[in-house]
Symmetry: C2
Subunit: 147 residues, 2 copies
């Protein structure tokens, strides 16, 4: 038995599990809005800046077009966004919020605080949270640049 192959020694398994469980925790908050977590991420990107290219959203969420495109197509059929072909560069696709997509921002504004409140019983200290953010950012930065 190789001790390095023990599950308890794997940081990645912890990340994988924590990520899934937190996404599940979002569900009851997102379901009333008819959103999945990745769709909520797309909306957050567009709420910050409307009218972005698929490539902009792709870079921001670190997801390729083969994930983003079907996601956007579903969101379009839900009436949350519209996709229009670029005028200058006809290869590009511009994604814009619909009235409905814009309106959802108001309904979503309390979600982050709800999540924070839901975590109040296990909240890492301010210092732990900062270390967590810093560590994750350095992992992401490193792995993103690896392509």
């Amino acid at each position: 038995m190789y001790s390095q192959l023990k599950l308890d020694n794997q940081i990645c398994f912890r990340l994988y599990t924590a990520s899934r469980l937190i996404t599940q925790a979002y569900r009851p908050l997102l379901e009333p809005l008819g959103l999945t977590y990745p769709q909520y991420l797309v909306l957050m990107v567009l709420w910050e800046n409307d009218h972005q290219l698929v490539s902009d959203i792709s870079k921001r969420l670190v997801l390729e077009s083969n994930t983003i495109t079907p996601l956007l197509q579903r969101m379009e059929s839900e009436g949350l966004v519209v996709r229009t072909k670029g005028t200058a560069d006809k290869r590009q696709t511009l994604v814009s919020l619909t009235r409905k997509g814009i309106a959802l921002q108001d309904q979503a504004k309390d979600i982050p605080d709800c999540m924070t409140a839901a975590f109040s019983d296990c909240t890492p200290s301010q210092e732990e949270a900062m270390v967590l953010v810093h560590t994750l950012d350095s992992i992401i930065k490193y792995l993103k640049n690896n392509d």
Copy 2:
């Protein structure tokens, strides 16, 4: 614009992204063994203790039967495990390694060190890593008990 809805303020997005990117980093190491990351997790559980129930694996990986069962079915058709109906309790399914599944452990033994080496350029300090593990464990423990 609600600042709490900014992507950069979201810890969950970081977890989600880091988890995906690390899983991708495993791919070149797992592909030669014909494994996906979740399949590798199942094998790690069985390498620690062979002959476990679906419910045991389910608890250990924090995944429900609706995820685990198809995963095990694929692994069975790959000849990595066998699934046998429980004798005492016929509702249960016992999962056991095949000779091939056992043999893979030897081929996989260097993967953790390979991953560590691949991360040498962005390795968080020993202290950061410990805080990361501790924080993730407390999040997981809290969310797991929420059902």
